[in-house]
């Protein structure tokens, strides 16, 4: 029997208090060509807060993240089972169009990946294809708002026509975040968004994450324990495809309940 259930249920009562549940997973399993990558993960992720996924490489945290916007659909031989709901809607339902889903579940990757287009067009791209702007003025407004929310407007407002790739790494990552929020997502997934950035650029992204959590459900995968501690309100520890422990970040880092969590976060042989 997988060991995810008890912990997940214990903490359900924790998360229920302040924030409504945005993402509810029950018994989510993923296998790649018959090889189990995620075992019966059940978790309730609160809205308008930051949830960090930590764990060693290959523990399943990114696999689970990719379930949330059906990125695993694109992988040959991947099979996802169980129930995964965002705002009560089943993500894996056949009626759900992955393209529409990905508009409401934005994703930021490890390496900034701006389109080979201007700064303006990078942000305007999503709103254009989703028909969010009825006029050039409206589109300008959306681009400016998204860039402001991403804390980038002051730095790029006078060179919106420059290529997105001309920006620094940290600026590119904020551009990508602006691109994600331009289409009003519900959930923002971040897969090690700062691992390619210097400490100052990292601090700016973390400050941005802290501001964005007022409006979005943010899930961040990070290998930096300090980053998880700094930015998240709740932390989930994955190990060998299992969700081992999930709880308030402060508890995970001061008093983890499971010895596997303890060994991992303190840097011991497990």
């Amino acid at each position: 029997m997988p060991d995810n259930h008890p912990q997940a249920q214990i903490y359900d009562s924790h998360s229920g208090g302040e924030r409504p549940i945005k993402v509810a997973a029950r018994d989510v399993c993923v296998e790649y060509n018959g090889k189990q990558a995620l075992n019966h993960v059940s978790i309730d992720i609160p809205d308008r807060s930051v949830t960090a996924f930590i764990g060693p490489s290959g523990c399943g945290k990114s696999t689970f993240l990719r379930c949330l916007n059906r990125m695993n659909d694109t992988i040959e031989g991947a099979r996802v089972t169980g129930s995964l709901k965002i705002d009560g809607r089943e993500v894996n339902d056949r009626a759900v169009d992955p393209v529409v889903l990905r508009a409401s579940v934005g994703m930021v990757f490890q390496k900034p990946n701006p389109f080979p287009k201007s700064i303006y067009d990078n942000v305007a791209y999503g709103p254009r294809i989703h028909g969010l702007a009825l006029s050039k003025n409206a589109l300008d407004g959306i681009v400016e708002t998204a860039l402001r929310k991403a804390g980038l407007w002051e730095e790029v407002s006078d060179r919106l026509a420059d290529p997105g790739t001309s920006l620094s790494g940290g600026q590119q990552q904020r551009l990508v975040i602006a691109r994600a929020i331009a289409i009003n997502p519900e959930v923002i997934l971040m897969d090690e968004p700062c691992s390619a950035l210097d400490p100052i650029a990292t601090a700016k992204i973390e400050e941005l994450i802290d501001e964005l959590r007022e409006n979005y459900c943010i899930i961040i995968v990070t290998h930096s324990m300090q980053q998880a501690a700094r930015v998240s309100q709740k932390t989930a520890f994955f190990h060998m495809g299992n969700l081992v422990e999930f709880g308030p970040t402060e508890d995970i880092f001061t008093n983890p309940r499971d010895p596997r969590t303890q060994d991992y976060i303190t840097g011991r042989f497990g």
Binding site: M225, Q226, A229, F253, T254, N255, P256, T261, Q262, D263, I265, T266, G267, R268, F269, G270
Partner: protein, 229 residues
């Protein structure tokens, strides 16, 4: 002995935590001896022991500075988490308590010089008894610290009520004696100071028990506290 059963992947980090625990144990041993010597000086009216207590106090102070440096270094360079975090922060608190105990032991020893100028007091056996309980408290809590056991720490914590009662009784009797015989006022004041210092040392042993409890369980000892009598 470490708080966690598994070893650190970064050996040097594990060693730094072990060294911190060792330093704390050495500091505790020194303070214990200081207190025993101070009480012996009072009971035996032997002011020649005072210098030994003073010398150790300087050593204890230096060790507290060392513990602080180690803790600062661990926070800055290792960012300890979970048990390591609790251990590091508790070590800092415990070293402060031990330094205070050393200081109070020195104050007790100083009174031996003054008391040796007066005839032996009948109440001194009460002081000796109080001192013995406090030494036992300190000894047990330091033993518990070296093995990370919480049961003896909780016992020490509960003993504090007995220390307080004995201290209060001693003060009452001393005041009565001083009222009856004005010749006892001057040595009596010294005895009162000694008793007060012993009672304070008992409080520090209690603090150490609380810090140890938090270190091991991540919960404050106050939560289990029995209602005050």
């Amino acid at each position: 002995m470490a708080l966690s059963k598994t070893a650190h992947i970064v050996t040097a980090y594990g060693e730094e935590l072990d060294q911190l625990a060792d330093e704390l144990a050495r500091m505790g041993g020194l303070v214990e001896t200081q207190l025993e010597t101070a009480i012996a000086a009072i009971v035996r009216r032997d002011s020649t022991l005072v210098q030994a207590v003073r010398d150790r106090e300087k050593q204890v102070n230096q060790m507290q500075v060392d513990v602080e440096k180690r803790v600062l270094r661990l926070f800055a360079l290792r960012q300890p988490l979970a048990t390591d975090l609790r251990m590091t922060i508790s070590a800092l608190k415990i070293s402060t308590d031990l330094e205070r105990v050393g200081d109070l032991a020195k104050n007790i020893a100083y009174r031996a010089k003054d008391l040796s100028e007066y005839p032996a007091l009948a109440l001194i056996d009460r002081v000796e008894r109080l001192g013995a309980i406090v030494i036992k408290q300190l000894h047990e809590v330091l033993d518990a610290l070296s093995s990370f056991e919480i049961e003896p720490a909780i016992r020490v914590w509960r003993t504090d009520d007995e220390v307080d009662e004995r201290y209060n009784a001693l003060v009452r009797e001393m005041l009565v004696s001083m009222g009856e015989n004005s010749g006892l006022v001057e040595p009596g004041v010294h005895i009162l100071f000694v008793a007060k210092n012993l009672e304070r040392i008992g409080d520090h042993a209690t603090n150490i028990a609380e810090a140890l409890h938090f270190m091991v369980t991540a919960t404050p000892l106050e939560a289990d506290s029995p209602p005050p009598a």
